[in-house]
């Protein structure tokens, strides 16, 4: 659906030149919610703005739906952009227009008929839950309501792709969740491809299918969210996940607390249905090993349940070894912590 090839963006010229993206490749599939996470200045906004060419890349190709946008004329690009919706951190609504007129804006650009505008805007107002506010001006709305207008406006021209540039960063946690649910809902309803950038791991965890971690203008890690979230490889990714979960001081203390000679602290990761099964208890019954729980989490990534349990096995070392092998054979992930 979206294919970025060798994307390079350099701001400025000569001595003042700053490379925001260098030789970046990325492939986003139709109908998925793809998240890009990175620290401030990593190049996230530059990346997403290159997808609709609000920012023209210095080098590289931007393929959307089989067309290289960088090769289009201005007029062709304007046509193509109508199929790429975008929402922004600061909403960017017309302050001089009502909610209705803001949502109608992209339709009026194409010269749609008055009746079709009426019915389309009504439908969108309903979708984002703003039927009662159609006649208000943006200044009279809350941040969450403004972003709903932004979403409705972006959907008005029936786009194939929705780009979200930090769409929830200006919102409080509850409002963030409601906007994320709305995005997930429209993704499932219209099979809309969504690209979102954020600096918050929980946004990725809540709704994304796949994620790319961007750092210093390049992608350092990408994959399914479950994979990246549960088994992060790059240090930057670990950092984002740590900032999301509790700090690991208490865990370190628990692992280092006095313990029997023959024992092992391990992290067991359950994914999917296994999260709710009694695998661990069955295995230790067979091997005769006992365990102490040091830390545990059960949560979901998008709609996939997962659990992470850090336990200390105690018993003869062969028995501990056997326990680990059996857990692995059951399809769980086991990582030795000490």
């Amino acid at each position: 659906m979206i294919e970025l090839k060798g994307l390079t963006k350099v701001y400025g010229k000569g001595k003042k030149a700053a490379t925001a993206l260098s030789q970046l490749n990325l492939s986003i599939k139709k109908g998925e919610i793809f998240g890009v996470i990175g620290h401030s200045g990593a190049g996230k906004s530059t990346l997403i703005r290159c997808i609709n060419l609000l920012e023209r890349p210095t080098k590289g190709e931007v393929w959307v739906d089989g067309i290289d946008l960088t090769k289009l004329t201005q007029g062709q690009l304007q046509q193509k952009r109508r199929k790429i919706g975008m929402i922004f951190q600061h909403f960017n609504l017309l302050s001089s227009a009502t909610v209705f007129d803001n949502i109608a804006f992209p339709l009026r650009l194409t010269g749609a008929s008055q009746e079709s505008i009426q019915s389309k805007v009504r439908e969108l107002l309903k979708l984002v839950g703003l039927e009662d506010h159609w006649n208000k001006y943006p200044a009279q709305l809350s941040g969450g309501q403004k972003q709903r207008v932004g979403v409705a406006r972006a959907l008005a021209s029936d786009p194939d792709v929705l780009l979200c540039d930090e769409a929830t960063s200006a919102l409080d946690p509850q409002t963030t969740d409601s906007i994320l649910r709305l995005l997930l809902d429209i993704n499932q309803r219209f099979n809309l491809t969504i690209v979102l950038i954020t600096h918050e791991m929980h946004v990725i965890q809540s709704i994304c299918d796949r994620v790319a971690v961007i750092h210093g203008g390049g992608i350092v890690e990408q994959g399914d969210v479950t994979e990246v979230f549960l088994k992060p490889k790059h240090e930057i990714t670990r950092e984002f996940i740590r900032s999301e979960t509790q700090n690991d001081g208490p865990l370190r203390a628990a692992i280092n607390a006095p313990h029997p000679e023959s024992s092992k602290a391990v992290k067991i990761t359950f994914l999917g249905q296994k999260t709710y099964e009694s695998t661990l208890s069955n295995v230790v019954k067979e091997t005769g090993v006992i365990f102490a729980i040091l830390q545990g989490t059960i949560s979901t990534i998008k709609d996939v349940p997962y659990g992470q349990l850090i336990v200390r096995f105690e018993g003869p070392s062969e028995a501990i070894q056997e326990t680990i092998s059996k857990l692995l054979a059951e399809g769980l992930d086991v990582e030795v912590m000490d």
Binding site: G75, Q78, R81, R82, S96, P106, L109
Partner: protein
């Protein structure tokens, strides 16, 4: 100071002068907006272009606008006499004052337009670009509506400035209240006429400013 005697004032003449002033003001304001608004839009668009050629054209245009703005109106009026004659056939009377008023005020108004447009949130313009709006659509559907309060206060400032300019045009036989004030008050020492003329102009400015402020307030949504 001699006591004032308003009974000698020729009210017919006063009324005629008031109408003349309003005529000058109205027509010059309309032409100023017709010329200044596009000029301001062009200044805004060219001023932000990333193409070097356009950058140079902008600098030249900007320089010309600055020259017209820095020449004192009274000198501009005299310097433009041949131009005025060639356009409206006369350089005196109500008709003869309109070209210099417009040439004097349009560049001034264009700058105010440019400034008002620059106040429009960049993000909103980008959002429109992202939705596939052409430059014309961005001007008519984003820039002008979003800048409306700023544009209206620009119009108010310009029209008030034009009141002062029409008064000056009286000096070269333009007619109107300014002409009356100078002819009677300055050349003939008939203070009464001067006082009433000036009072009428003050009243006019007050009314214009109030109306302008109302409109700006009405259209402000922030």
């Amino acid at each position: 100071m001699a006591s004032l005697n308003f009974s000698t004032v020729n009210w017919d003449e006063m009324l005629q002068a008031t109408f003349d002033t309003l005529k000058m003001l109205g027509s010059s304001a309309i032409f100023t907006i017709i010329l200044g608004l596009p000029l301001g839009i062009v200044l805004y668009l060219w001023g932000r272009s990333s193409q070097p050629v356009v950058g140079v054209i902008y600098s030249v245009l900007s320089f010309l606008v600055n020259i017209l703005r820095s020449v004192p109106f009274i000198i501009l009026m005299v310097a433009l006499i041949p131009f005025t004659k060639s356009i409206v056939g006369t350089s005196i009377g109500v008709l003869g004052t309109i070209p210099p008023l417009v040439v004097g005020a349009a560049p001034f108004f264009a700058r105010l337009v440019e400034t008002a447009l620059r106040e429009v949130d960049r993000g909103v313009i980008e959002a429109a670009q992202g939705m596939g709006a052409s430059t014309t659509q961005i001007v008519t559907r984003v820039l002008l509506p979003e800048a409306r309060p700023g544009l209206l206060s620009g119009v108010t400032i310009t029209v008030v400035t034009l009141v002062a300019y029409t008064a000056m045009s009286g000096m070269v036989g333009g007619g109107g209240l300014g002409d009356l004030a100078i002819r009677y008050g300055y050349y003939r020492y008939e203070k009464e006429v001067m006082i009433i003329s000036v009072a009428l102009m003050v009243l006019l400015v007050q009314l214009l400013q109030m109306a302008g402020d109302r409109l700006v307030k009405h259209f402000s949504r922030k």
